[in-house]
Amino acid sequence: MRRRPGIGGLQTAAAARDQYRQLGENVAKIRTDLMKEQLTTFRTQLEDFARKHKNDIRKNPAFRSQFHNMCTKVGVDPLASNKGFWAELLGIGDFYYELGVQIVDICLATRPHNGGLINLQELCSLLRQRRKSDREAVSEDDCLRAISKLKVLGNGYEVISIGKRKLVRSVPTELNKDHNEILELAQAKGFVTVVEVERRLSWTTGRAIDAFDTLLDEGLAMIDDGHKDGVRRYWFPCVSSISTPVGADG
């Protein structure tokens, strides 16, 4: 379009701008429509996929985890409700519900030993032992999802990270930063001593003993005066697995 000087030229320019704008809006609309259509197609394809691979999703934890990731990307939450298409198609709602119940059970059963804090790894291991007869394998990812659903029920179940490990908390005990630091130190050998805490964290003896006393009172720690060096050790059942043997130098 050739620009012409003068009012006529301005009017032409305005008309041109209008047309461009309209074109732009159309393109935007086409893009949105296209996206919506793509999304719907994607959702349908996801549903088809789920139908076809129902068994794999049920049986294979790695596959299941990937499937969940895909769902998240598309904005679908198969666990959002126990009813509806996804729950009925996959029965996955039941799977996680059942897992949740078993997890609560295990946490209650181990609470006398570990004070209500359990290593995620150990929890999964105990879960798998329980479900040996079931055809559906269980991964740590599954555990975490089940626990996040438990949270919704307000049971006080939470996953906390201490150092390299994840711990599942099933009691309302609040751990402060000092407690967390001790737990993290304890992960190396399953126990710590007062001197170790003083040295590694640069705490006073008083601060260390205070923290230990709270952890003892909460049932998260146990004392051990039996080592031949006579130094008291504080053991934390939640960072070691009761099923793995403790070394003699402990």
Binding site: F191, G219, I223, D224, H227, R233, W235, S243, P245
Partner: protein
């Protein structure tokens, strides 16, 4: 899992803090419960009736694999808990020896009654030694039973009129006349 002979030891036996008497009440109560069960279980499996607190060889008192042993205080605490529960008795005032009743005296009395009926001894006479070690006792829980425990069970039955105890021909043996 660690074993003592054929006996399967529970997981807690390998966890060092369980060998130290815990100061926090709730934790200590759980600890005591675990040890009580272990002691009863072990004694029942091995037919042990008497535990000497100073006995260094009693396998439950120490675990060499983790280099831990129960202090005297801990041993006394666990056995006292069993006594309080009626599953053990101190044999001396200084609490150095403990009689473990992995069967209560009442249960032993019933076992004696079953033994008598099973062997058709309803009107017979037997010596206490025969009840303990005779042929008929082989294969039953009565075989090798601690004499003190057996006498207590027999006396309980005597009070119920099921039998009569009398002194035997030798100074150190007694006999029983059943009248069941």
């Amino acid at each position: 899992m660690q074993k003592l002979g054929d006996f399967k030891l529970p997981q807690f036996f390998n966890y060092p803090p369980y060998f130290t008497l815990q100061p926090v009440r709730d934790t200590r109560e759980k600890q005591i419960q675990l040890w009580k069960d272990l002691i009863l279980d072990y004694c029942k499996t091995h037919h042990i009736f008497v535990i000497g607190l100073e006995d260094q060889d009693f396998p439950l008192f120490s675990n060499p694999a983790i280099e831990r042993s129960l202090t005297y205080e801990a041993r006394e605490a666990f056995l006292s808990a069993l006594v309080a529960q009626g599953r053990a008795e101190w044999l001396d005032k200084s609490r150095r020896k403990c009689l473990v009743l992995w069967h209560r005296i009442q249960d032993w009395a019933n076992i004696v009654l079953d033994f008598v009926k099973d062997n058709g001894l309803e009107d017979s006479v037997m010596t206490v030694e025969e009840i303990r070690t005779g042929i008929e006792s082989r294969g039953t829980e009565l075989h090798g039973i601690d004499r003190t425990v057996l006498m207590r069970a027999l006396k309980m039955l005597e009070q119920k009129g099921k039998l009569a105890i009398f002194k035997g021909t030798t100074a150190d043996d007694e006999g029983v006349k059943f009248s069941i």
